[in-house]
């Protein structure tokens, strides 16, 4: 049983979550990455609006610096899996066997990424939460969602 199912009328939570996802689908971006301050300032001539820009992907697990932004998920996962192999080859993890397993799994994952047509598509992008686990929810007693926390935007 999941955390949410134990604490609230779960169908209400699911209904609210579905509505929330539908709202998120209305906001579109270009590129895969994290939000940064935009260098474009709205003026009368450029007709721009004040909005965050999609920049390099902030990722605490990469070796040195943020990678991206990326045009496709294939580009993104290829770069991040390369980085994972770099870390495993340098034995970042103290468990020797884990380094070999992570390296092997990243090679296998790369094969799947290379073959997955869905990941090769260049398309509009949408905001997604980076830590998709149930404790980011604050749920009322009736099961409705009061807040979704920890976006770290």
């Amino acid at each position: 049983m999941s955390y949410l199912k134990q604490v609230a009328p779960f169908d209400t939570t699911i209904r609210d979550y579905a509505s929330f996802l539908i709202k998120l689908s209305a906001v579109r971006f270009k590129g895969i990455g994290s939000f940064h301050h935009s260098s474009i300032h709205p003026t009368e001539s450029n007709n721009a609006i004040l909005a965050p820009a999609v920049g390099p992907l902030l990722n605490i697990t990469t070796t040195t610096y943020p990678l991206g932004p990326f045009a496709t998920n294939r580009e993104r996962y290829t770069a991040l899996l390369n980085d994972l192999r770099e870390r495993a080859a340098n034995r970042l993890w103290s468990d020797l066997n884990l380094n070999a397993c992570l390296y092997a799994a990243s090679l296998e994952a790369q094969e799947h990424v290379d073959q997955c047509e869905e990941m090769a598509q260049e398309e509009d992008t949408y905001i997604t939460h980076g830590d998709l686990k149930p404790d980011i929810f604050r749920v009322r007693k009736d099961g409705s969602i009061a807040a979704i926390l920890d976006w770290e935007l």
């Binding site: 996802l21 990455g33 939000f35 994972l84 976006w151």
Partner: protein
């Protein structure tokens, strides 16, 4: 990843990671009911992104379970079965990538090749000038990492003796300092004992004033023997001291 980011539709609407499939199916059905079958489809197809992001964080759990879930998430029913042991799976990948020297090195190294460190000690290497564990083992390269070694053969006994001597020297210095401090405390106590209190200071001033008057009025012979006798009855400050005002 720990912060929000932008992703293509199929990943952006991958749902929360629940640990069974029932909530995913409920969310799918609800999205269909609310008129969004496209998001509903992304919900059921989100597992491959979950698995990839687990991997990028270094979370594998049991390796074979992870590989099985990854294959099923991406290939569905066409997924090939995983070997029955981790060693066989690693060997299988090794055969597919014979020219990947880094992976072949990882496969060749055993626990015995690795210098042991205290629990929780991670070995980091300079990326610009990498020194691999194989280099250390085969070429006897030395570096800061060797300080963490607890192998008897690699333990520096001379360094231990040096450290012990240094501690003994510092302890002797501390004891000498402590004796010096004790002597200073005794001297301080002696000085403090001699210090007059405020009450005794007032009475001493009054006594001095009174005595001075007495000396001035008693005999000229006796006053002449006191070189610093002052006629305080003519000085304002002494008057003040002799007759303190009440405020």
């Amino acid at each position: 990843m720990s912060s929000a980011y932008t992703a293509p539709f199929a990943e952006a609407f991958a749902p929360l990671i629940w640990y069974d499939d029932v909530p995913h199916q409920m969310l799918h059905d609800e999205l269909v009911r609310q008129g969004r079958p496209d998001i509903a489809k992304a919900v059921l197809g989100g597992a491959k992104y979950h698995q990839l992001n687990f991997l990028l964080r270094g979370f594998m759990g049991a390796p074979l379970d992870f590989v099985r879930k990854l294959r099923r998430a991406i290939l569905g029913s066409q997924a090939e079965e995983v070997p029955d042991t981790v060693d066989r799976w690693l060997a299988q990948i090794g055969e597919r990538y014979p020219n990947d020297t880094r992976f072949q090195q990882l496969l060749a190294i055993t626990e015995e090749d690795v210098p042991r460190g205290p629990p929780g000690c991670l070995l980091f290497f300079d990326k610009e000038d990498p020194v691999t564990i194989r280099d250390i083992v085969e070429q006897g390269l030395e570096g800061d990492h060797m300080r963490y070694s607890i192998n008897e053969a690699e333990f520096d006994h001379a360094e231990l003796e040096r450290a012990k001597r240094q501690v003994a020297t510092l302890e002797a210095k501390l004891q000498a300092r402590a004796a010096h401090v004790d002597r200073a405390k005794v001297e301080l106590a002696r000085i403090e004992a001699a210090k007059p209190t405020n009450e005794s200071t007032k009475s001493t001033v009054n006594d001095v004033v009174a005595n001075t008057r007495v000396r001035n009025t008693e005999s000229a012979d006796q006053s002449s023997k006191i070189p610093c006798t002052v006629d305080v009855s003519h000085t304002a400050s002494t008057k003040q001291a002799a007759t303190p005002t009440t405020r």
